[in-house]
Symmetry: C2
Subunit: 134 residues, 2 copies
Amino acid sequence: MNVKYIEKLRNSGLRPTKQRLQICDVLFETKKTFHFTIYDLAKKIQKQTNFDISLATIYNTVHAFEKKGYLKQIPINTNQTYFDTNITDHHHFFDLKEEKLIDLDDCDVGPINIKKKINGKKIKSVEVLVKLED
Amino acid sequence: MNVKYIEKLRNSGLRPTKQRLQICDVLFETKKTFHFTIYDLAKKIQKQTNFDISLATIYNTVHAFEKKGYLKQIPINTNQTYFDTNITDHHHFFDLKEEKLIDLDDCDVGPINIKKKINGKKIKSVEVLVKLED
DNA sequence: ACACTTTTTTAGAATCATTATAAACTAAAA
DNA sequence: TTTTAGTTTATAATGATTCTAAAAAAGTGT
Ligand SMILES: [Mn+2]
Ligand SMILES: [Mn+2]
Ligand SMILES: [Zn+2]
Ligand SMILES: [Zn+2]
């Protein structure tokens, strides 16, 4: 069960520690992908686990995973940073009342063609954020 | 010169104080619209003015103007909040290296048609963020 | 198993953008 | 002018995030 994460971590040059494997389990061992803040994740880990992981380690691990491309950061203006376990190119609804992110499939949004070019720069990502109100 | 801002503020239920008029001057008395952080704005005010405005007032005023729709907040993940004096519907490049926002005209991005609907919610805004790298 | 190196974890402190407080001030209303 | 409500400001508080440095764990070679 853990073997795949041990491999994944090793292949990324990250040592498969108890903490990282636990975090992998919480993040990736689910049917559905999800959006979370560091605080959300810390709570989820506490619920699913006996041993606590320090907040510093959670921050470190999430950033390491983001750098490796196993997590994405969602650009949104809130006091906390949102992450996404869905690393495919996709867009989001943001429910302003509930402060919840909802995935939009690519087919929910037409293809986006950016006509403007900036000299010497290339496009890294194109993300649509649709804010929802009641 | 200030008369139009005095009117604008009065019509918004905001008293036209010396500070607010000064901030209006810095924000809206320019040919081109621009993007800024609170820190940027504070520096700009210092340069253009003799009397200093307290940081608290700058925060209060920017938020008041945002609430009235005279400024927009740009959804982006940085340690500071970005605002925009261009309140028309438009999208952005974000130059990751320079940490600078660049406007995209509506014609630079095709029309975006969100097909998915969420029960009881309506779309407030649709914003595209295009990240640029070298 | 053991010695040695490198990476990781962690508690706690530091940072820093933003927000709250509450007293002094100012604009508008009566 | 007096009163009222709104505004400014210095200062403190908040809170998410990052930093620090020491202890622990993992990997490597023998
Ligand atoms: Mn990050
Ligand atoms: Mn705001
Ligand atoms: Zn998502
Ligand atoms: Zn803009």
